[in-house]
């Protein structure tokens, strides 16, 4: 599905189902150097179980036009513009990693429009190790190898998005290469990391949030370990937390557990 936004044409995967008027909408937001396809299984399940799904490629990423944003706040504004363009008054949001912070900012900027917020593999502050940031600048393949290692916790992932024979380490590495190559004007790796690393708006944003919040955290996550979400949990004492036995790549390493956490929670009224 293509959506003409002020910043360019956005691509959204709809989970293999056409749009159904009157159904609730779930917006799925990916993280740094990823695209909509990290949500394949969750997208398809939600789309076939009562939701309209928009799994977007962020501006300047993959199939979407426009330029990458320079801050989490700007990404959130771009996502809200996308909802405007699609005529969506309100929706639930699930974001992974950087996408979780974008979702948080959306809920702060438009508290009446975001009905539920699931922050998957989240942290605040979301610092990026200087060595990783430098590698993303100087030697992206090396940085991708580092992220691939840090994102996984098992050598035996269960049947995943590309089928039972998926080697999730290789799939993530290939996806990052593809997304990096999708934008020749910007280093999406560095710019995404900088947007995460420099984000300081969470305290204000958390104070604005009015919707129910769910944290889905990987117990073996090295990128955003569960303890790194403590400040969010402290600011939102009513937020629910689900721990999943997985690393940072929750949706591919533990697709079933992640789905069980998100559905039907995202659809609850």
């Amino acid at each position: 599905m293509k959506i003409a936004c002020p910043w360019g044409v956005a691509y959204a995967y709809t989970g293999g189902r056409p749009w159904v008027q009157g159904q609730p909408t779930v917006l799925l937001i990916h993280g740094v150097l990823n695209d909509h396809s990290v949500w394949i299984l969750q997208s398809r399940y939600l789309a076939h179980h009562g939701c309209n799904v928009l799994a977007l490629d962020l501006p300047g990423h993959g199939r979407s036009g426009g330029h990458p944003c320079d801050s989490i706040q700007a990404y959130a504004a771009a996502m809200l513009q996308c909802l405007d363009a699609a005529g969506i008054a309100a929706c639930a949001v699930a974001g992974h990693s950087m996408g979780s912070l974008i979702g948080l900012e959306m809920a702060a900027q438009a508290p009446t429009r975001i009905t539920r917020l699931a922050m998957v593999a989240t942290a605040y502050p979301m610092r990026v190790a200087p060595a990783l940031l430098q590698a993303a600048q100087d030697d992206p393949p090396r940085a991708m190898a580092m992220v691939t290692t840090f994102s996984h916790s098992t050598l035996a992932p269960p049947p995943s998005a590309l089928g039972p024979g998926t080697w999730t380490h290789g799939a993530l590495d290939a996806l990052m290469r593809r997304v990096l190559a999708s934008n020749t004007e910007h280093n999406l790796f560095v710019e995404g990391f900088k947007a995460c690393d420099s984000y300081q708006g969470a305290p204000e944003a958390l104070a604005q949030v009015r919707c129910p919040v769910l944290l889905v955290l990987g117990t073996r996550d090295q990128m955003t370990p569960p303890k790194a979400a403590a400040s969010i949990q402290a600011a939102l004492p009513t937020a629910e937390t689900v721990l999943v036995q997985a690393g940072h790549a929750l949706m591919t390493e533990a697709p079933e557990a992640t789905l069980r956490a998100l559905h039907p929670w995202l659809l609850a009224s």
């Binding site: 190898a145 269960p158 049947p159 080697w167 799939a171 290939a174």
Partner: protein
């Protein structure tokens, strides 16, 4: 960066895709001899069929034991995933038919395994897929063979049986410039020797019957996808980038930015052609993979000894192994295959065809049979067996003479192998004496 979280090759060969069984604690990979898998609910059934969840439905499409094999091969190749089939031939057929249809064209190396040559030259044209065969050592020939309907470059990393070393970087770049993928058959160079995706291959297939299983006990094949080739940007692969009526109008390239090939191959080639691998065979290949690094090291050290012996023997006219400086692929092999260019090679004796047959008859440790990549050493006469359907001209073009003898060096004591060859060469010499 190496370590438990990012293991090296030898560790992946043992651990990738497998963990202690969560139900029984079994440490070895369990063998799941079950045709089908119980649904937890009607919704579970529907969502598995509709690819909303990961899991197993029916063993023609996927099986837990096969999935371990697929993940392990993908890990060893540096791929995003893999798909196992009933044989190497089934793998090649499925790889081609996932991408091509009637009216499409392949540019292929002419130095191919006889079975691959049969499929491309005789069988696929009946279904509208034509192939132009080219000299793998002449990059310009690949370019010259391109047609508007060309959809695939195909070659062997080390061509059977002349041991032509494919210039993966050059041929891969040429394919990509034309918006095409490069599929390579790496059967003779398992990933311990060469990971072709590092040099430009997009799809890598193996007859797992050979070195991956390594013990001459099983027929199997597997193809891996690097996930790097952009099928949609190419615009030449509607099977992947346009809605597929046969599976809910799925557009595989939208569904999976990487891995579209694997999705379609599983959802169509396995589902409809049905050349699935038996879980028992997958389990046997896994046993072989666990010792692949150890076996390959021995295969290569034995090969080095045997090649040196043959190259120095007065009855031997030519030894066709890239480790020798006079082999046309020597330079490429040194760069792409620093651990060795495989343990399958051919040699010509000075003498008649009858003397060649006398040599084969006299061998005791080398088994005369139609296979390679066994733990045991093997020998065959290609012109009368694996390549017998080829004309003399095609044989010559592929570097095979009437007296060419092919060896597959096994894991025996190298002194014993050399002794066996020494005696057989003596018998061949006597057979030529009036």
């Amino acid at each position: 960066m190496a370590g438990a979280a990012n293991p090296n090759f030898d560790t992946l060969a043992l651990h990738a895709g497998a963990q202690p069984d969560p139900t029984t604690g079994a440490r070895a990979v369990p063998l799941h001899l079950s045709t089908s898998f119980v649904f937890r609910s009607s919704d579970d059934a529907a969502s598995l069929f509709n690819q909303e969840r990961g899991g197993h439905v029916y063993s023609r499409i996927s099986n837990p034991t096969n999935a371990v094999l697929e993940q392990r091969v993908a890990a060893l190749e540096g791929a995003c995933g893999a798909l196992a089939f009933a044989s190497g031939q089934a793998t090649l057929h499925a790889s081609i038919t996932t991408l091509l249809g009637a009216g499409d064209h392949i540019v292929a190396s002419r130095a191919l395994y006889g079975g691959s040559h049969n499929l491309l030259h005789y069988t696929l044209p009946r279904f509208g897929i034509q192939t132009t065969f080219v000299d793998p050592n002449q990059p310009d020939a690949w370019r010259a063979a391109l047609q508007p309907n060309t959809r695939l470059f195909f070659g062997e990393t080390v061509g059977n049986p002349g041991n032509d070393v494919l210039d993966l970087e050059t041929i891969g770049a040429m394919a990509h410039d034309a918006g095409l993928p490069l599929l390579v058959d790496a059967t003779l160079t398992p990933p311990w020797l060469l990971q072709p995706m590092r040099y430009g291959a997009d799809l890598v297939m193996h007859s797992a019957t050979k070195f991956l299983s390594g013990h001459g006990t099983v027929i199997a094949g597997v193809v891996s996808d690097s996930g790097v080739f952009d099928w949609e940007a190419s615009g030449k692969f509607p099977t992947l980038s346009e809605p597929y009526e046969g599976f809910h109008h799925m557009v595989f390239t939208e569904e999976a930015t990487v891995g579209a090939f694997l999705l379609r191959a599983r959802r169509e080639a396995l589902r409809d052609f049905g050349a699935c691998l038996s879980p028992h065979s997958a389990w046997l290949v896994l046993q072989g993979l666990e010792t692949l690094p150890l076996r390959m090291a021995r295969h290569m050290s034995n090969t080095e000894r045997v090649v040196e012996f043959l190259a120095a023997h007065p009855m031997v006219q030519r030894v066709g192994h890239p480790m020798l400086p006079d082999h046309p692929g020597h330079g490429l092999a040194k760069r792409l295959l620093p651990r060795g260019a495989g343990s399958v090679f051919s040699f010509d004796i000075r003498g008649s065809r009858a003397q060649g047959m006398a040599l084969i008859e006299a061998l005791q440790l080398f088994s005369h049979l139609a296979n390679v990549g066994d733990a045991r050493s093997l020998v065959i006469h290609p012109a009368s067996t694996t390549h017998f359907r080829m004309s003399d001209a095609d044989l010559a073009a592929a570097g095979i003479g009437a007296g060419t003898i092919r060896l597959s060096i096994g894991l025996e004591d190298p002194d014993d192998l050399i002794d066996d060859l020494k005696r057989a060469l003596r018998a061949a010499e006597k057979a030529g004496t009036p």
